[in-house]
């Protein structure tokens, strides 16, 4: 029975179905709800933004999928867990502060407002490619990371930027089990961090980030696998040497420091040559650097990307 369904479905029919579902949502939630779900930014936007550069010209992944299908092990290892657990655990996000330390002239611990307010929020529509071979197109809201980092005047010794997630098993109950070496740590090379594509996101679909998407501040690096996009950041540290990130500690053979999207380098356990765009039936080919090669490939010239995966 299932197989027959498989052969019969064409991508056009899938689209029809999603439209039909949208119509159902429209009926169920009323016009306002449907507008929010279909991503029209005008009304419910709690964040004031300008349309930024680099907008991917592709259909957006519905907000419902972006907010209910997430990897955030601090709120459970199933991709539906974070959206389900967040309302009972990660209820109070703010006040929030971020400690910026290390090789810089002006280290400081800033509250959320002090960190973000001086900047104009931009909307950036990016492809997001998960290391698990699925992808989305997400309208993020945020600030170019480089603009924020420069305020702290990193020194010449600052070769890497290391990010740390909130450590709080009360609000992040996934941390009660030693699945990863908590807190989650991620890092970028300085030139990656300063690249204009790299975003410190505070929202999506014109609204503030929900806990399951990494409220209130998270990293978005569109040419890298999603796990580089560390969520709920409380620490930023400039360092001279690269750290061991959470996933490198967990499985260095499977998750490297760079984690650039690369169809030519497979994950040891599955192919990275193609991906399933959420909402589509057939897989599509994965693009080098997730389609951002033109902007970022030069950062890695001369490097063997099969070794530096």
């Amino acid at each position: 029975m299932l197989i027959r369904t498989g052969t019969d479905i064409r991508s056009s029919e899938v689209t029809d179905r999603s439209l039909w579902l949208d119509r159902r949502r429209f009926l169920a939630l009323g016009a306002a709800g449907a507008l929010a779900l279909s991503g029209v930014p005008a009304h419910a936007a709690s964040l004031s933004t300008v349309r930024g550069k680099f907008a991917a010209d592709e259909p957006l992944t519905p907000m419902k999928d972006v907010t209910t299908y997430t990897n955030f092990y601090e709120l459970g290892t199933d991709k539906s867990d974070p959206a389900q657990l967040a309302p009972s655990y990660f209820t109070k996000v703010k006040p929030w502060s971020v400690a910026v330390e290390g090789e810089c002239a002006k280290p400081a611990t800033l509250g959320y407002e002090d960190l973000i307010k001086p900047h104009q929020l931009e909307e950036r529509i990016y492809r997001m490619r998960c290391v698990e071979a699925w992808s989305m197109v997400i309208p993020w809201v945020g600030v170019p990371l480089g603009d924020i980092l420069r305020r702290f005047e990193p020194s010449s010794k600052a070769k890497y930027v290391v990010f740390t997630t909130l450590q709080d098993p009360e609000r992040l109950p996934g941390q009660r089990r030693a699945i990863l070496d908590w807190p989650y740590v991620e890092a970028l090379r300085m030139d990656e961090a300063m690249h204009p594509l790299t975003l410190l996101a505070v929202g999506l679909y014109g609204e503030e980030l929900l806990p399951q998407n990494g409220a209130p501040i998270r990293l978005v690096v569109p040419w890298k696998y999603g796990f580089k996009g560390i969520k709920s950041i409380v620490g930023i540290r400039f360092t001279e040497t690269p750290p061991r990130t959470a996933w490198m500690k967990a499985a260095a053979r499977e998750y490297g420091f760079y984690a650039n999207v690369n169809p030519a380098v497979d994950h040891p356990r599955w192919s990275q040559a193609s991906e399933r765009r959420i909402g589509e039936f057939l897989k599509r080919k994965t693009l080098p650097f997730n389609g951002y090669a033109e902007q970022v490939a030069s950062l890695y010239s001369g490097m063997d990307l099969a070794v530096n995966y």
């Binding site: 299932l2 498989g6 992944t61 209910t68 092990y73 290892t77 991709k79 539906s80 356990r269 039936f281």
Partner: protein, 218 residues
């Protein structure tokens, strides 16, 4: 209890119960309840139930021996065939939904990805068991040979558990639970075998499921 379980309507009721997971999946599919990645959800769900039914089928004999509810033996073949059915659906959803009949890619995956290799071996090994599940085939093979063949399940079940374990990204809680249950079920059989060899007659050769013939030369 054993008498209750022997009533004519019980076995059809168990049959319907075994279809439950499939019905639930169909309902979720039709009501849009499979989430953002329905294909992945279908494959994982069917795989979970395939594994559960293998463990359920393997639990019949220990459970029957411990409780003395011999009526359970009547369900064993049916439960084994349900395990096979869920395995086939799991496999076909991988072939048809995930890979969309891209046989080249499927072949490469089977060779290259160890967890898929193990899963594939388990599927192949299950086929002769399903084919020889009829009374006629049982007669044709003869009890001893049939029994020897069906001991393949002691290979298949660990393959299934390993297949799941190796594909999980990090949180191995579920595969560990499956492995623990499997270890218990196989351990019970080893214990039964040891007891049997020790002269205790609680496990009779006619009980089929416990490995009785050709005992190891310990």
């Amino acid at each position: 209890m054993d008498r209750f379980l022997r009533q004519a309507w019980i076995k059809p009721a168990v049959f319907v119960l075994c279809l439950g997971p499939l019905a639930w999946l169909a309902w979720r599919g039709l009501s849009g309840g499979l989430g953002a990645n329905p294909i992945e959800a279908v494959i994982r769900y069917l795989g979970d139930w395939a594994l559960r039914f293998i463990l359920i089928a393997l639990a019949v004999t220990p459970f029957r021996k411990i409780t003395g509810w011999n009526a359970l033996a009547r369900w064993r073949r049916m439960l084994g065939l349900f395990a096979f059915a869920y395995v086939v659906l799991h496999f076909m959803s991988y072939v048809g939904l995930d890979q969309f009949f891209d046989w080249g890619a499927i072949g490469r995956e089977i060779v290259k990805r160890r967890y898929i290799t193990l899963g594939m071996v388990a599927v192949v090994l299950l086929v002769p068991l399903a084919l020889t599940s009829t009374n006629a085939m049982m007669k044709r093979l003869g009890g001893k040979r049939w029994q020897a063949l069906h001991r393949l399940v002691y290979v298949i079940a660990p393959l299934g558990v390993a297949h799941h374990w190796m594909m999980v990204k990090k949180d191995i809680t579920e595969p560990m639970i499956h492995a623990a249950i499997l270890a218990l079920l196989l351990g019970w059989r080893v214990a039964a075998l040891v007891r049997h060899n020790g002269g205790d007659s609680t496990v009779r050769a006619s009980s089929c499921a416990a490995p009785c013939s050709s005992p190891p030369s310990s």
